[in-house]
Amino acid sequence: MIGQVRDVPLSGDPASRYLPWTVGLLVFLATLAFAAGMFLASAGDTWRQDLSGTLTVQIPVSDKADRLEQVNAVAELLRTTPGVVFVRPIPDAEIAVLLEPWLGKQVLELELPMPDLIDVSVARAADIDIAALSARLAQVAPGTVVDDHAIWLRRLTEFTLIAETISFAVMIVILISAVATVVFTTRTGLAIHSDVVEVLHLIGAQDSYVARQFQNHTLRLASAGAAVGFLLGAGIIWLAHVYGGKLSGGLLPELALGPGQWALLAALPVAAVLLVVLTVGITVKRVLGKMM
């Protein structure tokens, strides 16, 4: 019987009209942020794989005399390594350009001793043991380091990591503000209807009876909002998947989420709604607890 007539007139409140929108917006944003985070994580991996097709071998600065010999010896060793497609010692001028980001523009004018770098292309299929290669190269020229195209790799890794972190942080902030919104909406509801709550209380209603009224109401509103927000978010992700790839001309990795990622994403609105209903229950009972 309870619930047929709702004693607390929540549905007319501005707070009530606002709740589905807020929950919807927040779930929408959280969905996008979460998806962006997951997508960036995969994209970072893809790019890293692309880049790992090239290596840079670095031979430390040494005397002019045996420098050329060493470089040639290393290059020779590399050429004989299975999986290596191409080897090219990089000239000093080019190295100077590469060093510019670290050392500034004056690097070209200074007559610095430069390390020798060798550019190596690796067949995609080949699975080169970098550590073993390093060890072998170090025997030929001590101090030689094999770098799997560190510059771009690190630049991209850092970039995607930062973007990932921001995405997840935004998601967390959004979830926190969702809880805050719900606590606030509930407290507003209780404030507007404190008289009704008090009358129900004095008439002999149990706390759970009053709490249920608020919870049922919020459950309905929050579910509607969360569903719409999630569907919109998922729609945008799907659009990005279908059209994003075409528009970027294949340059961006496919904007697709795996089934596991979709499942995680779908758990988001459900978790949000549960959070909402739980919050409401706790808030209502805490307010009621202050009455005799």
């Binding site: 008090e198 002999g204 149990q206 706390d207 009876y209």
Partner: protein, 242 residues
């Protein structure tokens, strides 16, 4: 009725009760009295004397700052929170400011105590409609309180207080907004309830009502209670005229 009308059967029992709001001064001092089951009392006193405050203690909206209160033979201070709700369901209250729920129709307002107590929906409507007819609101059954006149609201409040046949009925100025004809009609309703066992307390300023319905009268002034059986413990209340 008189089966219960002895010390143990007292429905309300105050012993040296003091009351204050928050940290304010005491508004009631050393109030001791008891109401036997089935009695009918008026409660009078000047404006601001403490009538509503005394009522508030009886309908379990406020705790005394000292002394002890028993309702239905149970010491209120020892009753656990969940059982207080059950006790409150045995008390009917007409609030001085009505406290109707604005978004519910007159019918739903009056039905509230039944719903809260878990009554069957099928039994509610007829029962409530009949009572509303009794208080002269048959044509306003589905109106919201905000669209009712002052006196109409007051009658809805009275109907809500009596609908669940409470064991004690506390009516705070229940006739301040109605004319004398309706006031007398409402008093007859309370008397009928009283005849079938309900203990009634009516706080009022209306002296013609007090004269007409010759029930014993408590008087509050300056936070002190005087009247039949006041200060007398475990004695039979000489005032219960049923």
């Amino acid at each position: 009725m008189n089966a219960l009308a002895n010390g143990v059967g007292d429905i309300v029992r105050f012993e040296n009760v003091g009351m204050r709001y928050r940290l304010g001064a005491e508004v009631l001092h050393d109030v001791s009295f008891s109401l036997p089951a089935g009695s009918f009392h008026f409660l009078t006193g000047p404006s601001g004397a403490g009538k509503s405050s005394l009522m508030r203690l009886m309908y379990l909206a406020h705790r005394p700052s000292r002394g002890s209160i028993s309702m239905f033979g149970r010491d209120v201070s020892t009753v656990p929170r969940t059982e207080l709700a059950a006790l409150r369901r045995r008390i009917g209250v007409v609030f001085q400011d009505f406290r109707l729920i604005d978004h519910l129709s007159a019918l739903d307002n009056v039905a509230l105590p039944l719903r809260v107590a878990g009554a069957k929906e099928g039994q509610i409507r007829n029962h409530v409609a009949e009572l509303l007819k009794w208080v002269g609101l048959e044509s306003q059954i589905d109106d919201k309180p905000t669209t009712l006149s002052g006196g109409e609201q007051q009658r809805v409040a009275i109907a809500r207080a009596v609908i669940a046949r409470p064991q004690i009925l506390l009516a705070d100025e229940p006739t301040g907004n109605v004319d004398d004809d309706i006031a007398i009609r409402l008093m007859y309703l309370l008397e009928e309830l009283n005849k079938i066992g309900t203990t009634v307390v009516v706080a009022t300023h209306n002296e013609s009502l007090i004269e007409r319905f010759k029930h014993p009268c408590f008087h509050v002034e300056d936070g002190l209670l005087s009247g039949p059986g006041v200060g007398v413990r475990n004695d039979r209340d000489p005032g219960g005229d049923q």
